[in-house]
Symmetry: C2
Subunit: 218 residues, 2 copies
């Protein structure tokens, strides 16, 4: 089943939400338009996700549409850490829509929605929202989930509905070189140059974490 589900196509977005003065952002791949009159979009969020609780409370969210030029730092900052533990917006410039949700200034555009329906679908809640504001920011090529995985070598946060544990376990290398995994995002370093020989200012190519964040893979 996992193999067939893996052929479904997704874009990649940053969901922003503000509830009672608290704001958060996370990376999602499940935003689509589901109705034309009125224009409605849906997004599925894991119940383990801090943004899930904020959207449920505030009944609104923004969707920032990422493009292929999106800074890697965004995935580390917004996608692989929880807003429960830290303020994702510290020293980070962002915009605010008319519903007070944060959005990414560097996105192609932003859709802001008021939640009209919530459906409990198991591990996730499906939020349906009517689009009340659309902001066009720049021209560019939308980032797809496939491009993120294949070209940007991105990995999948555990709370994505499409998460498969197997994606974190690439084939073992034939050489005896030790492999290192980024503890922040799960990216596995497996280039020919041994990890130990990388410069000290090496950063994770997915989430921009420092070299010190890498641990040996058993």
């Amino acid at each position: 089943m996992r193999k067939v589900l893996g052929n479904l196509t997704y874009g990649l977005y940053a969901l922003g939400v503000e509830a009672g003065g608290r704001k958060n952002m996370c990376i999602v791949n499940t935003a689509i338009q589901v109705s034309s009159e009125p224009a409605k979009i849906t997004v599925a969020l894991s119940k383990n996700n801090f943004s899930h609780d904020l959207v449920k409370e505030a009944k609104k969210f923004s969707i920032s549409i990422l493009d292929q030029e999106t800074d890697r730092e965004i995935f580390g900052r917004m996608g692989f850490s929880s807003g429960k533990d830290k303020d994702k917006f510290e020293d980070f410039p962002y915009g605010e829509d008319e519903l007070k949700n944060p959005y990414l200034n560097q996105a192609l555009g932003v859709l802001s929605a008021k939640v009209t329906d919530m459906v409990d679908v198991g591990s996730h809640t499906l939020f349906v929202g009517e689009v009340v504001q659309a902001i066009a920011l720049k021209e560019g090529t939308p980032l797809t989930y496939t491009y993120y995985k294949q070209v940007k070598k991105g990995t999948v946060p555990k709370n994505a509905p499409t998460y498969a544990a197997a994606t974190e376990e690439p084939k073992k290398q034939e050489s005896a070189t030790k492999r290192y995994r980024c503890a922040v995002c799960g990216y596995i370093y497996q280039e020919n140059l041994p990890f130990e020989q990388l410069a000290e200012d090496y950063k994770c190519p997915v989430c921009n974490a420092s070299k010190a964040a890498f641990k040996t893979v058993e």
Copy 2:
């Protein structure tokens, strides 16, 4: 708003459904996975769509995942005519899943789902379904809606949530050549060779309709 919504990413699928002995298939771009445990998918269907009524009645559907090699004929047969008026499966080989829904033999794979929730979202109904069967058929590259529009020069059926009337009205050519529109799928012929000079066995590049199906655009 239309411009920003246009940056959302979609795949392209054939939805199959059987209800009380009647079966139908249509082309959709709104299938995504929304939960991992249990695995659930959603699809949005226009209330004007014959398949909509069948899915509502039978509470089940199949999603055949199209790939870039998909025969053009599929879009004409399944996407631009209604199953109310004709049997889309006449002289057409197809598979049947364990829920008796038809599926495309030439797809990458098939997901079959039992409907667990239905949400009225305006012009469309959002169907949530638990995946009960997955059939892997072949390897290939999933067809995206963008690829379909840009490379296959496909047009959008009026019942798609992402339908925008403007997509059917390309810029007028500078030359005085008359333009012809395919009455089946809406494709507009605007190559340099005048339409009248095309061979009599010319077929619409989108839906495979005959030359006779083209009408002059005013």
